[in-house]
Structures are given as C-alpha cells and as structure tokens.
C-alpha cells in the first residue's frame, strides 16, 4: 500500500504539482503517465525514498530497505565495470538468507526467464542496452520485494523483450506484489495495466486505465 497525503515534490521552491492525495492498495498494478517533465520519475524516487518530498507524507506498508525494488530510467551503470552479467544479476540476492544451492537454482531460472542464459559470463561492456535492461529486470525478480517501482522499463527493449516484460509484470501482479510503472506507451498501458495515475501540473487523477486514457487526447499525455 502506498498512501500519499498532501504530497508535493520537485526541485526546492518549484513543486511540480499542487499537493496531491492518492492511495495505491497492496497488490495493485498502476501506471503513471503524464507529459515530459510532469514529475513521474521524481515521484517514483520520492516513493523509493531516494528523494525527499517538498511537503506532505508518504506511508508505505513495507519498510523501504529490502522490501522495495526500484528500476531507474536510463541506467548510468559504468559499462566498463569489470563484472559479468551473472554477477550483476546475482546482486539481487542481497540480504537473502537462502542456501547457496537454492540461490544457484534461482539464478539459473531467472537468467532463463529473461533469455539471458547464453550471456551469463559476458562482461557488461559487451551487452546491448536491451540485454542490460533485461539483466536489471532479472536482478529485480531475484530480490522478491513486495513493492516494485519501474521507470520506463520497456524503453530499451525490442518487441520480444517487451512481451517478456509484460508477461513478468502480470506474473508479479498475480503473486500479489504492488507495482507502479511509469510508461509512455499508452496503448500498452490500456492493454496491460488496470489502473492509471495521470500527473498534470494542475494535480493528479487516479482511475481505471481504460477510462482515463480514452478521455485524454494522445498528444496531451504522450
């Protein structure tokens, strides 16, 4: 559950919206849409606790450390970092108390799930943007956090990758995890995500995706 009360965020002195109130229930799957610069990514950072809100409060029903996974937009990972894809993915086990055998098994499964098995020992510099994005998603699936925040997860992915992504998002949703997904692809939001939070400079609206997106001319939100 994520409850925001009179929340304002943005650069100091320049809040992006008037104070907003909304509540996303546990196990919900919500898209965040809005124009460029409307504050979608910052909102995710505020929820993740990586950025302080200007005013207002956020309540989470889980602790931020360990129970929350955040996939930022445009990874600034140093591609020359001397580490293999498999080691990057395995970082998802941070804090896990599972046995090494179980971990190996789960790591193998995660790599297979995200079509990365053949790339396991590649150094980061030899990965494409889409492969790296799938690796970060695989890391996220290992962490098993109940709250997942994804900022444009489909950005670097090709058609096959996007299909994989939606399949996993539905699977995570079915397991009762709470998901918040920033997404520019309104057709995909309508098709895959039941609820939508629209952020505008005049405030925010939360509602069923099919209604919200039909009401908005595409040019206004895309």
């Amino acid at each position: 559950m994520i409850r925001c009360q009179a929340l304002r965020w943005g650069a100091p002195g320049q809040p992006l919206t008037p104070p907003v109130n909304f509540e996303l229930s546990t196990g919900s799957l919500t898209a965040v849409i809005g124009a460029n610069g409307s504050g979608k990514s910052s909102l995710l950072k505020v929820i993740a606790g990586l950025q302080k809100p200007l005013t207002g409060k956020i309540f989470l029903d889980v602790s931020r450390k360990g129970s929350l996974s955040f996939l930022p937009q445009q990874q600034h990972l140093d591609r020359q970092f001397p580490i293999s894809l498999q080691e990057l993915v395995a970082a998802g086990f941070w804090g896990s108390k599972q046995s090494p055998d179980l971990r190996n098994q789960r790591l193998k499964t995660a790599l297979e799930d995200w079509c990365l098995s053949g790339l396991a020992h590649r150094p980061l510099m030899a990965l494409s943007g889409g492969e790296l994005q799938r690796a970060l998603l695989a890391r996220m699936s290992l962490a098993q956090a109940p709250l997942l925040l994804l900022d444009e997860p489909h950005a670097a992915l090709d058609e096959l990758g996007q299909a994989l992504l939606w399949k996993h998002i539905h699977a995570w949703h079915a397991k009762g995890r709470t998901l918040v997904v920033v997404c520019h692809d309104l057709a995909a939001v309508r098709q895959h995500i039941p609820h939508t939070l629209l952020i505008k400079s005049s405030g925010s609206v939360l509602g069923p995706s099919t209604e919200l997106i039909r009401q908005q001319p595409l040019t206004q939100v895309a």
Binding site: K65, S69, D78, R79, P82, G95, M125, A126
Partner: protein, 288 residues
Amino acid sequence: MLSAAQLWQPFHEFVFMRRALLGGLVLACSTAPLGVFLILRRMSLIGDAVAHGILPGAALGFWFAGLSLPALTFGGLGAGLSMAGLAAWITRRTGLREDASLAAIYPISLASGVLILGIAGKRLDLLHLLFGSALAVDGPTLTGMLWVSGFSMIAMALIYKPLLLDTLDPLFLQTVSRLGPVAHGVFLTLVVLNLVIGFQAIGALMVVGLMMLPAAASRFWSHRLPVLIAIASMLGCLSVWLGLLLSFFYSLPSGPAIVLVAGGFYLLSVVFGPVHGLLRRPILPTSQ
C-alpha cells in the same frame, strides 16, 4: 645487467634492504585494491589530493614533536582525513562536484604545509617528505606499515561487497541497504591511512604512484574485478622489488625508482594488454 644472484643478494646482506622490501611489498598489496576501486569510482585523482593534504599535518607534527613516527603519522592522518572530510562536506552542501572541491583544497593544504615547514626551520627536508626514502624504513616504521596493511586488507575484504555495489549501482544499494555511505567512509579512511603510513617510507607523492599505477595497468589484463586486484598487487610487488634493486645497484633514490618501474609496467600494459591494449584487437566491441 643484473645476474640472478644479484636479484636477492642485497636483501640477504642488508637489514635495511630487507625492511624496505617487506614494507614495500605489504604496502603494494594493501594499496592495490584501493587503487583499483579509486579508478572504478572515478576518483583516481583523490590520491594525489590527499597526499598533498597530508603535508601540513605532518609538518605540524614535526614542528611540535620533531622527527617522531607517531607525531608525523597522527598529524598526517588528521590533516588527510579532515581534507577529505571538508571536501565531502563542501560537495554535499553546495552540490558541486567532489573533484572541484578537492582541487580547491589541496593547494591550500600544500601551501600551508610548505609555510609551516618554512616557519619551523629547515631541519625537515621537504623533498624527504614528498619523495621519501625507502632505505630509511626503521623497525617502528615497518611495524606500523605491517599493522596498517594488515588492517586495511581485512577491512577491504569486509566492505568488498557493499563497496562494489556502491561503486557500480549506488541507487540499487540504497534501496536494499544502508551500508553504502559506511563503505564509502571506511574506504576513504583506508586510502588516507595507507597514504600516511606510506609517505614515510617512499614519500607522500610516490606512494600515490604505487597505489594508482599498478591499478591502472591491471585494467588492460582482465574483465574480472578479483583478477584485477590480484594483478595490481602482483605488479605493485614486482615494482617494489625491482625498484629497490635498481636503487641499490645504481644509487638511485628508491621512491622514484619504484614508481618508475610501476610506470614501465603501465606503459607495457597499454601496449600489450589483452583487454584494451593497443596491439590487441578488443575481444569484444567496446562501447562508451
């Protein structure tokens, strides 16, 4: 040229050579992982900045207590840590980049160090402080080096995992753990500690060379972090050994001899290294 017997003979014959060798070897092993991580964190120049920053503290220590190991060490440690801390504080408060604050603070430190030495009289040679003399490693200095190196290697092993993630993906680490800033702080402390203990043996500026050159060279040999650290330690140890031999047989100052051997390894790696080296085609396309 040196013959095979000569590679070991000076160390067998002279206690001061054995001390210098042992001290240099442990220092090379403990600075190798620090150098590798400094490069990965894009903080390669902080070593230089801290080495200059140590000077006023060491000079003050000398002024009050004379040429005593604890005074120089604690003076240098205090100055180095407060310089790194001040730079970090200015960075956090103003939002400017850390390299800019370090670049601003280290000339201040260096100038005040030189000034203090000037006021204190010319009994302590500035050249000795900056470039050191490995052949003057005495018993207590060696003991200090062994302690610091041992401690720093154990501490690095303990913070290895959080430091790795804090370097690669700090946002991710921030969402799973609070250890990021702790690892960063411990790491910076270790850098200062190693520079301080090293500056008495091979000089403040030369120990930076021993820290950074093997680390920079190792990047041309592997894609794997543990291997990089192992290669950097090995190159550092070789540099110490060969550098001391050169300095013994050709009467060269030992600090520069060690650093120049390390520099030679670096240049060889640039040309022949299999990973990014000039002569080898990259195994895989590099992207930036």
